[in-house]
Amino acid sequence: MNFVANKSDLKVVGTRPIRPDGMDKVTGKAQFGADLTMAGQLVGKILRSPHAHAKIIKIDTSKALAMAGVKAVITSADIPDIPSEEAFVGEGPTNFRDMSLNCMARGKVLYEGHALAAVAATSSAIADAALAAIDVTYEVLPHVIDVEAAMAPDAPVLHEGMITTGVDPKPTKASNIVKKVAFSLGDWQAGMKEADVIVEEKYDTAAVHQAYIEPHAVVASVNPDGQTVIFASSQGQFMIRQYTAKILGMDIANIRVTPAEIGGGFGGKTLVYLEPIATALSAKCGRPVKMVMTRDEVFRASGPTSGGTIEVKIGAKKDGTITGAYALVKLQAGAFPGSPVAPACMCAFAMYDLKNVTAEGYDVVSNRPKVAAYRAPGAPISTFAVESAMDELASKLGMDPIALREKNAAKAGTKAAYGPVFPDIGYEQVLAAAKAHPHWTAPLGKNQGRGIATGFWFNIGGESSASVFINEDGTVSVVSGSPDIGGSRASMAMMAAEVLGVPYEKVRAIVGDTAQIGITGMTGGSRVTFATGMATVQAAESVVEQLKKRAAMIWDISPDAVDWKDGEAVPAGANAGGFDPLPLAAIALKAAKTGGPIGAEISINAQGAGAGFGAHICDVEVDPDTGFVKILRYTAVQDVGRAIHPSYVEGQIQGGATQGIGWALNEEYVYDKNGRMDNAGFLDYRIPVASDLPMIDAVLVEVPNKRHPFGVRGVGEVPIVPPMAAIGNAVKSATGIRMHSLPMSPPKVRAALDSGKG
């Protein structure tokens, strides 16, 4: 289907119908990961390391196994010892051996909370007693938590034999530095020599958790012939199937995964933690096993995203033209390689059209849980530094911060430091909308300040499958392979309705299990509405072609002489014959006589995702006595391509901005001196609550992505990128003090007010 240039030609796209799964969710009927019960199911639980770093000398499970009601106990001895195999999963590189070792430690535990044994029992209380009866002998090793400490030459090394890649000469000694990455355009140092003004700053950010409200949950049941069913909450049922098969050495065809409703993911449910363990326990005892993480386990053993340090240097002419830019990013990967350091570097300066720029960084392991993707992985971290530094630059130049960004804005034809030349992007339009918004010029009161910051995310396409079937009465069923986190079933139904020319209410969309629909990549990377939407559109188009053929058969004319218009077959001009229009329902009624059921399934690898840009304006009030930062007003402007369902696009922007506000002001992993997390609960790890916030004004700028029929760009990730710098810039405006460290919590802000340095 060609790009629909004229928005007024669209009848369903751009409206705000009620989502098909909404009724189940407001009445409590929706089945999330922990809501399914299988007959005869057992309770599975995991024994986790109390140490940040230790050798496992011995695990004695005999007492646990002997307990009445205990049906299975497993350790790494029951999991295949698979070889190293690199793979690109979720939104970053990983290694299946590391994934297996993260699910169940072998020989060594690498962080507090690392799994090392699991039990299945007839009740929760018996499972707890069995865990307590497992006798583990540890040899505690020195640990290291923070990224720069882990890079020090005398740091305790997590993985013997880890030799840093990407550096020359190649080191001879093992370290915690996994690799170095670098992205360059021109010569940044030469660029600095042309600069009239240079800012040079260092920032740090804390590890933060995705903090989805639904803990990880699974029920798995393995039959003696190996056929396995898994019901789980995740961002990808095919991901669970593939990774579980890989870790346990099973045939993929023997595993059928049904996607439960997912209670939030934000990147944190793009990996397996419980699924292979529940499957291995079920295989051992022949009964279904249900496992649900506690919130404590979610914090200690899943997620989070990296904390890190970012050094940034930007030079500019007096007129604001940036002559050179440099960033050095060091990110925590957790206990296994794979921080989002590459996208952090790639996104750092992507908003700007620069001649001389380098962004480089290190991926560093330490004794923390292995990081998982979190909404625009890496970009918020590097962007906090770059957009704070841009604010300092504007201040030094005496320029308006929007004007400085306009002067250097990336536009169609700009070559990004990480490689591509941008096609039709909307960064300038976003800046223009921010400048025109009344928020930008509204008056401020005492102790109040305003900040603006911008951000970028690639957005991706990838593998997606969707099917569209015409039912006997002319209603339409849509099945896709993408778990629905924020309303994508509504978007799929809307796009199918648009192509077929039928009302939205006549189209019902569901998410298929792994046996019902073709392989589909995970819900992540802001790809679903674009890529799975494209598959849905193509399937609906295939159905339209079939409907035209059936009408041609009924009319006994050539299919070329039939047009499809507003849900009806019509003769294509006077020469085709004087037939009355045939509505979809009439053709469906005769389907059996004209060739059988009408439907199509399409599997694609979608290309041409459109990059996204956003600009956030934030007003804060800083309490000089307590250092508390209150968000007074928040406006988030974003190029969304074209919004299929504007309410859910606004929701993505409001939710992403709010997660960024939490990252900026409250959220952080706090460790004690033994390397144990001190705040593994929602009371002490404080995510934003309703009373912390004003309304979030989401402003949709529509610069369509012409490589999607309806102009879609991904929208979910961009909005978490600008908030930290927008808030830091607002705090600077309110207090005159630049905060260099996240979170900007009351004690830190108060200390900065006292010392005059943040």
Partner: protein
């Protein structure tokens, strides 16, 4: 140790169950009575996903013991709609797109109903503080607050 017999009322219906002394009311609702609309997000009273009413008072069911419901009246998300008619708060949640993943939604609707039952005309600030015990990670609360305020206005209109 034998289980304890509890006689109570759930969503207006007389109900009996057996539970252990240490079982939370949330576990009883979800595992014994199969009312899985109440969710467990934390088990420590910090997230509000398990919000119910006990004799009309809003509580986290993870912090109540199953045995404490003896002789009391329990209200859960499953009882908020009357037959096939949604409560105005449920309808407004749908119309305002006030849910994304939907996991916190049952708790928020139960909590919002408790608010409007006691204060039919809340200010936005009052609504935000009342709902501060119900965490939502998806929406940023904007559309939730709008849905609650709109439902309150509609219910006042209907009552007038």
């Amino acid at each position: 140790m034998s289980k304890i017999h509890v006689t109570t009322t759930v969503n207006g219906e007389p109900t009996e169950y057996l539970c252990e002394a240490q079982d939370s009311l949330l576990d009883v609702l979800r595992d014994t009575l199969k009312l899985t609309g109440s969710k467990e997000g934390c088990g420590s009273g910090d997230c509000g996903a398990c919000s119910i009413t006990l004799d009309g008072r809003l509580v986290c069911s993870c912090l109540v013991l199953g045995v404490e419901a003896e002789g009391k009246s329990i209200g859960t998300i499953e009882g908020v709609a009357k037959g096939d008619t949604l409560h105005p708060i449920q309808q407004k949640f749908l119309e305002h797109a006030a849910l994304q993943c939907g996991f916190c939604t049952p708790g928020l609707i139960v909590a919002a109903k408790a608010l409007l039952d006691s204060n039919p005309n809340p200010t936005e600030t009052e609504a935000r503080f009342w709902l501060a015990g119900n965490l939502c990670r998806c929406t940023g609360y904007d559309k939730i607050i709008r849905a609650v305020m709109d439902a309150a206005a509609e219910m006042r209109g209907a009552a007038a």
